[in-house]
Symmetry: C2
Subunit: 333 residues, 2 copies
């Protein structure tokens, strides 16, 4: 039985989506026990209007946050984190802000041995397929938890990303690369060069070298490692390509009929691709590095996305993600 | 009269393209005096077979570089740089390697007052149009001269990019932004935050704040500033999008007939877009920061691209790029 605590008041989504996601899942799975954290009256009311299995859902109360931002001590994410930190749950799911999540997690949780900084890992659509399931996406980390990463941090991100890809894509030996401005060991920042050296002889990581920006949409490798600043910038670009192509279709610049037609069709195709690999449906991004499992769902998640995020959390627990990372971080003589 | 010294042996292109580009231009413009640097016998032979105006082309000899790499002291880029440094020319054009160019320029040339690091600026296609000429591209810098930039460096890049955009796009007040992981002043690395503050009250830069990765293909602003590491990574991504869409069109994944059709048409459209805004035809990227004008042409430049690069160098001289930058860097009380 996996116990997942869920921040029911996080993000732009209302409590409705979160509660609905949990309610749906309670009818599907008998191996997940859920704790919904937020305004208890509101959650209980919402639950009452939905079909659900009440044996699988508990409610924990948190005071509403005041709108002037002065009394945040009892916010839902903090109560949920306390439950996780005290051992009342194995995993946490939230659609709240990344920076708040990282700050509170860093404050309340212990890092896994050898890890000094957290990493948020996100999937993005790629041209090439990955792993035995032929997933049309690859993993990128860090996309925003640790702005500036040392060589040591980058090595631990590689171990964590590899462990997560093994579980989530059933890929026994995911290829891992560092994002740099050239393929050579001598390119990249000093941190990247040093991480490259360490990873070249790392027993737990199938390190294939550096990749360049071009390799991200291509999907040349299964896991790409970079610091949080670079990761945020390029992830925003990857998200943006779909949007730009869609907009281009309407642009006066695309005057040629055939071209305009092509763009319109492509934008429909890309929409499908996006739907398929979207964070919102895929189920969120893991915040890696801590002893407990944390899944950050997109702030616009609907019920289905929340349900999937909880399932991803359960999968990570069932496959012992933390144990896998711990093993990967083990020093070798 | 602008005097442009041209490294005739740089890059992957043969001496033929370089000499042909110069020969073409000698018949078109009577305001440019060119000095071709390389194996004098080879250049003279090539020139002899092409129609050209011999009054506008001189040849300066450099010894061929040995293939084992031991005697590089007299390479064409070094001879060309010496001519530039000694005042024998106003501008330099090369299709050689960026890292070599930056190293030699840093060694031989003086920075403009207040500038401590060089920046390579490149144009990339955007959805939105820019300036009075409605250019379908924007300027990104640094894309690889200065890997890690301080706040002071970023501010000088903003001044230099703005000056260059004013000249090249005839845009009297180009909008300039810092590339970051969020729109807020509080986001980004410490260097970015500090540069943001300085630029907010900079008299010579029309600073509009931070942009995110998504804004690059969109083209929300005319000039985007970042350090050379981030710039190289994202520029490689921008270059890659076209390629990936073209490849996707052939991918078995695009099974749906309409989608495949759309992709095929789009890839043709993108090819046009690429042709139009390609470095190779646009005429190269300026290496900014030095007292002389330097234009780095793509290593695969053909004759036309070299001709255009020389014209860009001439335009930069005629519009006093260095003076513009100098003025922008002037301290205000």
């Amino acid at each position: 039985m996996t116990r997942v605590v869920i921040d029911a008041m996080g993000g732009e989504i209302g409590v409705d989506s979160t509660v609905a996601g949990a309610a749906e899942l309670s009818l599907e799975s008998d191996s997940i026990q859920m704790i919904l954290v937020g305004d208890a009256r509101l959650i209980t009311e919402t639950l009452g209007s939905l079909s659900h299995d009440s044996r699988r859902i508990q409610v924990a109360h948190s005071s509403p946050v005041s709108t002037d931002g002065t009394t945040k001590t009892n916010a839902s994410i903090q109560v949920a984190m306390d439950i996780l930190a005290s051992g009342g749950a194995d995993a946490l799911v939230t659609a709240g802000r990344t920076d708040t999540l990282v700050a509170i997690a860093t404050d309340r949780l212990k890092y896994l041995p050898g890890i000094r900084r957290a990493a948020l890992a996100a999937v993005h659509p790629t041209e090439q397929r990955h792993g035995p399931k032929e997933d049309p996406f690859a993993l990128l980390l860090d996309v925003g938890a640790t702005q500036t990463a040392t060589a040591e941090d980058l090595v631990s991100f590689a171990v964590m990303g590899s462990a997560y890809a093994q579980i989530i894509s059933a890929n026994p030996r995911p290829s891992v690369a560092l994002l740099s401005n050239g393929k050579n060991l001598t390119q990249g920042t000093p941190a990247i060069q040093q991480a490259h050296e360490h990873l070249s002889r790392h027993p737990a990581v199938h390190f294939v070298g550096n990749v360049e920006g071009l390799d991200l949409p291509r999907g040349s490798v299964d896991v790409v490692v970079c610091d949080g600043f670079v990761g945020s910038v390029v992830f925003a670009m990857l998200e943006g390509v779909t949007e730009v192509v869609t907009d281009l279709a309407k642009d006066a610049y695309a005057r040629k009929f055939l071209w305009r037609l092509g763009l319109t069709m492509l934008s429909q195709g890309l929409r499908q691709l996006r739907v398929m690999t979207d964070w919102r449906q895929y189920g969120g991004a893991p915040l890696l590095g801590f002893e407990s499992v944390i899944i950050k769902a997109d702030s616009r998640s609907n019920a289905r996305a929340i349900r999937n995020a909880i399932r991803v959390a359960n999968k990570a627990i069932e496959h012992d993600l933390s144990g896998q990372i711990r093993q990967g971080m083990m020093p070798v003589d």
